[in-house]
Amino acid sequence: MKTIKHISSLRFLAQIVFLLLPTSLIVFFALWNSNQYFSVLQEQWKTLGIYFSVGMLLAFFIYQFRLRFIPSFCVLIFLLFSGYKILDNYAIGEFDSFFITIQYLSFAYLFCVGWVCGWGLQRIRFFPILLSSVLLLICIIIISKTGLLTVSKLLQYLTPVVLYSVYIVYTTEALRNKEKADRRFWYLFTGRLILFCALLGMLFGGIVYLLYPEIQDRVEEYGGQGKEGENQMLQTKKDGTVENKESMGLGSSNNRNKNPEPLFCAHIENYLPGTEIPNPLYLTSFHFTKYDSLTETFERDTNFVYNDEFVPDPSKLLLYSTYVDSSKMKYAFGAKNKRTVEVEIYKKRLSKTAFIAPSTAFFVQPITVEKAYQKEFSSAYRSKSYVSDLNSAYFIYNSEDPAIRHFQEQRFEVLRKAKGYEDIDQRFMQYYTQFPSDGKYAPIKLLADSIAMHKQSTIDKILGVRDYFLQRNALGEKVFAYSDNPGIPGLPSASKLTYFLFESKKGYCAYYAGATVFLLRSMHIPCRVVTGFLTVDRSDKNKGWYWFYEDQSHGWVQVYFPEYGWIDFDTTVGNDDAQQSPTPDGTPPLQPPKPLLAMSAKIISVDTLRKLAEIHMQHMLYKDVEYTQLDENISVDVQVATIWKDSLQVPIQSLHKGDDVMLVSFAEKLKSFKPEKTAKELLSKFPTPVPIDEVYFLDLKKEEKKKALEKPTIERPFTYYIRTAFGVLLLLFICIFTIPFWTFTYFKYRMKSSKDSKQKAYYAYKAATFLLHQLQVARLQTTPLQYAQQIVDRRFGTQYSAFMIVFLKAKYANQLLNEADKQVIHSFYAPFQKKVKFHFKPFTRFVKFLNLNTFIHYFLLPPPEQNSKL
């Protein structure tokens, strides 16, 4: 009897360690994985995982006892449901209630799922098989949701689940069959388990190692580039905003979302020289210089130093502060035909962090959106780029427009005279002409050779490629067509590019750009793919204003010409469906006046009567010239200034000493000066006090707080949550497992503190029985008195039965206790405990006191009529 109990507790512990812990971990893993694909989980996978684990642990524990699943589960559901109803009624505020309800629901679902798992693991023999098949199914769904599937990703998803599946089935059975466990239970069992896991790992690893090429083929075949219906150029971020993807894949289809809401609106002052025709400045987001032949994706590469990329995050810059970086530009622009173009971008649905500008940008400055337009436009910035007059990507588009055609011809003429690549840095040439040596791209090389035949200059070769795409067959039909659904090649391992070039001859921009880059690189012309947005002149209602929609995301090619820099060429053939504005263009926002002077400063004192202020200036911008790390005190005139706090206009009284503000001035008085070398010189020329037109509060502390708040949530690694979950579980375990000890202590305390002898006898009895019960001194079917006489006193040599007689007298008799009885009660417990404890090793006692199973049985009433069926 005793030994069986001992083993059952050991088994319980083993089940927790070997079954529940791995299950928890795998669920954490599954949640973490699915979190990347289902925003429903709202980044809460760790909380959800904890809900699940707690549910499972509780159920596992509870279903050890005689409980029927269906009624108890119904009770649980009922409790959760009433909790939900209560929450629904009492949560204050609509948003709060919604939020809390969602939280609660996710808790309830996960808890229930955990509950079912715990129950299954406890009661149902074949549950692990079911569990692992469900997990595998989830895993497969996740894999199917993965856009860019690679072998490593596949293995990353699949390995833990597969290993877990085999592990859990084995371990459950092993634990079940371990009927006669002894002291070496842990040693033997753990050893066997480790051996099994090692074998399993070796087997799995071996299979993967041997079959790696085949797996790779399969992944290439079916994983490919994302799923049907995915936009290959854009990605939607979690907050609903949109930005260019950081890779450009060749998918079987490109779902151009026909969302009629514009992404952003840009003001570009750039026309073809001497005309009113807008120079089609293509707005660039990213450069793709590398091609991954495995996934057939064009990728960004920041390893090459002079990649001309200027990718700031406008949302991180202070209002009106500027960020200039031209350190990466070496080849971006030649000396000839260079010009600076200014662009203002007003973002609507475009991500706040995204930066797009004509190639090649070097300057960004966040600007305000006029108050009336703040609802429509979330943020705005101003950027400057160096562009070449020759840079016009209307290469195939609009090529029938005579003005453009004329301009293009002129442009080609100029470029024909451009220098060759002889003097160019070999490293640069090598980098921009690299080409996968894979045999399947060999036909492209042959095609390139045939196109480049008899053509001398670079531009002629490029024109050759253009003409190749524009060629018509004998019937006068276009050979190459635009299609958002180019399909995939029949042969799985074939390249999509060769399929496009030689078989299907239809594709979207990524195909044309990719093919062009391949062709040009095989002709040894340095080029790269860029993505961004393509402007189309849709109306001349508002000159210089352009509206951008999702379907205008685009990819094209840049070719390097010595002396002229990178020139855009768009080889995508015209798409008759696209380029139609889904909605008429809206009203462009009122452009805020360009600030002459912008200063970030701390207020020293404010004179609200005369509307003057003393400021300590740290940073100043005058006519786009920046002065940093300043330490100047000047006085400013805020008589006409409007003061903005967030998007609210506030009176001058709200300016206080110590506030951080941005002061902006458009004053005529300041126009006449030229930027000086130092701020001091400049300031000495300014009129005092300096007239200010706008004041913006800079809530630096708030920003810092925000950062401080964001930081921990962002930077916590996966292991942190594992550790937290583990810690919480551990704490829970400790709390639960020390309950017997605290109960025992409580009885002893009540015994010591009782004044009344009967009370004292009762708690002494309680403490004694609890101690004996927890130490598993079996009582069998005896009454307490028989137990004392026949079992306890015989085994431990205690005076328990003498005490019991007195106790029973106190309990059942109508007599008062006499002095002798009281003496028995008083002197009973201490020697009793000593003698009993003497018979057990401290460690045994400790382990037995951890046994919750025994503990619960102490309080259980006998099971109600077991043979009620008779």
Partner: protein, 328 residues
């Protein structure tokens, strides 16, 4: 002090009981629980039915008890033994009217029932007529013959035995009549060691049985019976008795549960048992000791399995309830 009074009297009474038990144990070895149960029945003013295989010592026990109380003197208990056979008539028990030649009238010749301790051996072999006559006397404590009513002795204790295996030629007692017995005791075989000891000393045992000493007078027994009535029963014990009795009525495995009379009998037996154990109050151990003996023969079970388990389960539930109670 008031509370010590019953204690002291209990001590003297328990000494007497202890003396009785010790005396009986000279003959009956290894049967202390059964001896105690018999004495409990005696003190509860009830009757006892002993059932088991022949040769387990039922008759010897009855004889020993009688010998320990009964003596030669007029104030001593009278012991009678009747061997029940199928041809036994009620008259043989009760007595009969015989014609007195001298007085020229019928006089009543008392039967063996007019005694203090009656051993009714193999009761189930007699015809139902005889059985019911005996049982009626046990219940009524009197005999009615024609127009006259004769009271039995003030101390009248019947020990009936029956053999379970003798199915042929027996008339099983109806359950309604079984109710008249306070307890039904299964005798059982003794343990191996005791049995060997018995074999070794059977001659002495035989001698002891023949020369059994009287240790208590009839008055002592009557006093003890009165004392047993004074034993205190806690309300929770009464609650438990009620729970147990009611549970037998509601249980699915039992077709006829225990009656209220059974409950009263149970409490009487509990009191007597407490006294036998030297206490002036009833505790749960008393219940544990006698519950099965008191209740089992009153219940009609639906099947064999229920017979073996149900009562024990119900009892252990009550025992657990009591042991966990906090009473003050």
């Amino acid at each position: 002090m008031i509370d010590t009074m019953p204690n002291e009297s209990v001590i003297t009474f328990s000494q007497k009981i202890e003396k009785l038990i010790t005396n009986m144990e000279l003959v009956i070895q290894g049967k202390r629980p059964q001896i105690k149960q018999v004495i409990t029945c005696l003190l509860a003013k009830g009757h006892i039915l002993m059932e088991d295989n022949p040769g387990t010592g039922k008759t010897v026990l009855a004889r020993t008890l009688a010998g320990s109380i009964a003596g030669e003197g007029s104030a001593d208990a009278i012991f009678k033994r009747i061997q029940f056979t199928p041809d036994l008539l009620p008259m043989d028990l009760l007595g009969t009217h015989v014609f007195d030649d001298v007085r020229k009238e019928f006089i009543f010749k008392k039967g063996p029932l007019f005694c203090n301790i009656l051993l009714a051996d193999e009761i189930n072999r007699a015809s139902p007529k005889v059985q019911s006559a005996l049982l009626e006397c046990m219940a009524e404590h009197q005999i009615t013959m024609g127009e006259n009513t004769y009271a039995l002795e003030k101390l009248f204790f019947a020990i009936a035995t029956q053999n379970p295996i003798e199915m042929e030629g027996t008339y099983p007692l109806p359950s309604a009549q079984l109710d008249r017995f306070f307890m039904k005791v299964y005798f059982g075989y003794v343990e191996e060691e005791t049995e060997i000891a018995i074999y070794k000393s059977y001659i002495q045992i035989q001698q002891h049985l023949e020369k059994i000493k009287q240790v208590l007078s009839m008055q002592d027994i009557l006093d003890l019976q009165e004392e047993a009535e004074l034993v205190f029963v806690h309300d929770e014990i009464i609650q438990s008795v009620s729970n147990l009795v009611r549970a037998t009525r509601a249980h699915e495995g039992i077709s006829v549960g225990a009656s209220t009379r059974s409950g009263i009998t149970f409490i009487k037996c509990l009191k007597a048992n407490a006294l036998v154990n030297g206490r002036s109050f009833v505790i749960e151990d008393d219940m544990q000791e006698i519950a099965v003996a008191v209740l089992d023969h009153r219940l009609v079970y639906k099947n064999k399995e229920a017979r073996q388990t149900v009562l024990k389960q119900l009892l252990s539930r009550e025992m657990d309830r009591l042991s966990k109670l906090k009473l003050h």
